[in-house]
């Protein structure tokens, strides 16, 4: 076998691997461009006002409003998405931080051997399975609990979705928090113990403080996942496109409307275009999350030199 000249081997290797990454980058750019192109068409081609799209509280694309435009206020979904995201993060946060601290500070061996593999399993459970659990267990629990208090509700709604999402983002936040806490240099802890501080004082005053930027990143990444989750939420939120009036009334999110609606409308209709605007909103929001993470990273780097 004739050997290729080394310089040529290197050029081929660099070229082939470079092509892989170029292809991936190209796909992502195409994705952003195409979704943005579709999403913007609502405002440029169909003439829908961006302001009334973002702030309108009525979603009824098949009905025209006073100005002859379809009523497509997306605020109910935007509000729904943000409420389930924030609420689920609120539910997950203490548990995630608590178990991360447990794994890093209290039982590192047990954490590495048992707890972290279990977390990975939790990440691996498909979102439709979480949706199914939400549908069959959590919705029923909420309904029964309400019934016990003399209220009649369906059980579908923001609260049930937030509980399901909390379980789903828990492993994400936990494992990133574990990394964050484990990255705190051991000398910091020893310094604190040497001053006679208890473990809890050390964790509270030293470890959590110096890991704060990374913990923030963990939370934001969890929120990114919650915000973008589609099917599990769609299965338990009740899918009523109305301004959320309470935690226990059916509502909807950007993702749930997208999964429900996209298959039903022909391409090119105004309704379809509006759905793409929702997708664009979702895309923009995940870009915002990335930017926030970068800002935290830069701030942390600047602080630590």
């Amino acid at each position: 076998m004739a050997l290729m000249a080394k310089a040529r081997v290197e050029r081929v290797g660099r070229g082939a691997t470079g092509a892989c990454i170029a292809l991936v980058a190209l796909l992502v750019v195409t994705l952003v461009a195409m979704v943005a192109g579709r999403g913007i068409a609502t405002f440029t081609a169909d003439g829908i006002d961006l302001g009334s799209f973002l702030t309108g509280t009525t979603w009824n694309p098949h009905q025209e409003d006073a100005s002859g435009m379809p009523t497509v206020g997306a605020l109910p979904m935007i509000a729904g998405s943000f409420s389930v995201t924030l609420l689920s993060t609120l539910f997950a946060l203490p548990i995630a931080f608590g178990s991360a601290i447990f794994v890093v500070e209290v039982a590192p061996r047990f954490g590495r051997r048992v707890f972290q593999p279990l977390l990975e399993l939790l990440v691996g459970i498909p979102s439709v399975v979480y949706g199914l659990i939400g549908l069959t267990i959590i919705v029923a629990w909420v309904r029964d609990a309400a019934a016990a208090m003399g209220q009649t509700i369906t059980g579908f709604g923001i609260f049930s979705s937030a509980v399901v999402l909390a379980i789903m983002v828990l492993p994400t936040i936990t494992s990133l928090s574990i990394d964050a806490l484990a990255a705190v240099p051991h000398e910091y802890r020893e310094g604190s113990y040497a001053l006679g501080c208890t473990r809890w004082q050390t964790i509270w005053n030293v470890v959590l403080k110096s890991a704060a930027p990374s913990l923030m990143t963990a939370v934001i990444l969890g929120m990114t996942r919650a915000f973008g989750e589609a099917l599990a939420v769609q299965m338990v939120i009740g899918n009523a496109i109305q301004m959320p009036s309470g935690l226990f009334t059916p509502a909807s999110t950007l993702t749930s409307v997208l999964t429900m609606g996209m298959g039903n409308e022909a391409m090119g209709t105004v309704y379809n275009d509006v759905l793409w605007s929702l997708a664009l909103l979702l895309l923009a929001m995940s870009l915002v999350f990335i930017v926030i993470i970068h800002l935290i990273g830069h701030k942390g780097a600047a602080k630590h030199g």
């Binding site: 080394k6 081997v9 209290v106 691996g124 439709v128 399975v129 208890t198 004082q201 299965m235 895309l283």
Partner: protein
């Protein structure tokens, strides 16, 4: 007096420390209990169907009881294999480029940002892009290949991160030793770094396979929501009943769960979705265990020879 205060203070912080530890332990216990409950519930609820051969191989029913999940089971695996066939080489190339060749310039920064963006994109957005680009624009229709490409986009960021990490975890001296013998980065990577990184890479790929296997949101608008009856004797690759035809629509297990629950017309809905979820869960568990076993085995073979 000061002495008395001091000991009271010590008692107080020690009590605080014990309480905190107790709280942490119970949080961790709660998480593990929850995981155990979820897995047990899924497996128990689906147990009657899990060992029912007619269910596992039978064809799904739309309006009557007793439908099976034969085609869905096959589709899930076929789609997984195709996805891995596309995404593993692509991610390998991208990861090698990033860890070995990437020049410190703007183009690399763009590529890295693209992958990071992809990793935080909601899978429903990836699915919608697949629908727009592969299903409609490329004219592939709802098809296995469109689904596989969408899943590839979903899988790439995970794989690139895992492989890049595995390559960078190989001691730098190994790479330097290769380069110091006049070998190219390509040869050093392929013959020295990759074999050393293989256990971590294989573990990562199998774990990602579990994620791909359970993914549904990226598939409902790409691989479609219908499962044509498959005829395994059919070798006409353009026929929708030929199992290997990549241009036929293919509903997977995860999509099946979502679809029958959101349509809700099958009379034995609960039994079927519980059964499907159990099958899905068993597969995910198998992937998790497999990932660890293979990783350990390769690691042992590598170090003990």
């Amino acid at each position: 007096m000061a002495n008395f205060d001091m000991s009271a203070h010590v008692r107080r912080i020690n009590r605080q420390d014990r309480i905190a530890t107790g709280v942490l332990v119970s949080i961790a216990a709660f998480v593990m209990l929850m995981l155990a409950a979820i897995v047990t519930y899924i497996l128990v609820a689906g147990a009657p169907k899990l060992f029912d051969l007619n269910f596992l191989t039978g064809k799904p029913q739309q309006f009557k009881e007793g439908g099976g999940i034969g085609p869905e089971l096959f589709n899930s695996f076929y789609l997984l294999v195709l996805t891995l066939l596309i995404s593993v080489p692509l991610s390998l190339g991208a990861a090698i480029f990033l860890s070995q060749y990437a020049p410190d310039n703007a183009i690399t920064a763009v590529a890295k940002t693209a992958i990071e963006t992809l990793s935080s994109l909601p899978s429903v957005v990836v699915g919608l892009f697949g629908f727009l680009f592969f299903v409609l624009y490329m004219g592939w229709g709802f098809s296995i290949i469109a689904g596989a490409v969408a899943l590839t986009m979903f899988n790439i960021p995970i794989l690139v991160r895992v492989i890049q990490q595995a390559l960078e975890d190989v001691p730098r001296s190994q790479r330097d030793a290769g380069l110091a013998m006049g070998l190219t980065r390509w040869e050093t990577t392929i013959h020295v770094l990759l074999p050393a990184a293989m256990p971590a890479i294989v573990t990562g790929v199998v774990l990602s396979a579990g994620r791909v296997f359970g993914e549904a949101a990226a598939l409902i608008f790409t691989a479609g929501q219908s499962a044509p009856v498959l005829d395994f004797t059919c070798l006409d690759f353009s026929s929708p009943s030929c199992p290997w035809n990549v241009f036929r629509p293919a509903e997977t297990l995860a999509v099946h769960i979502w679809k029958i629950n959101s349509e809700g017309v099958v009379p034995d809905l609960t039994a079927i979705s519980n059964g499907t979820a159990a099958v899905l869960m068993v597969c995910i568990l198998a992937f998790n265990i497999l990932a660890r076993v293979i990783g350990k085995y390769l690691e042992r073979r590598l170090t003990s020879e």
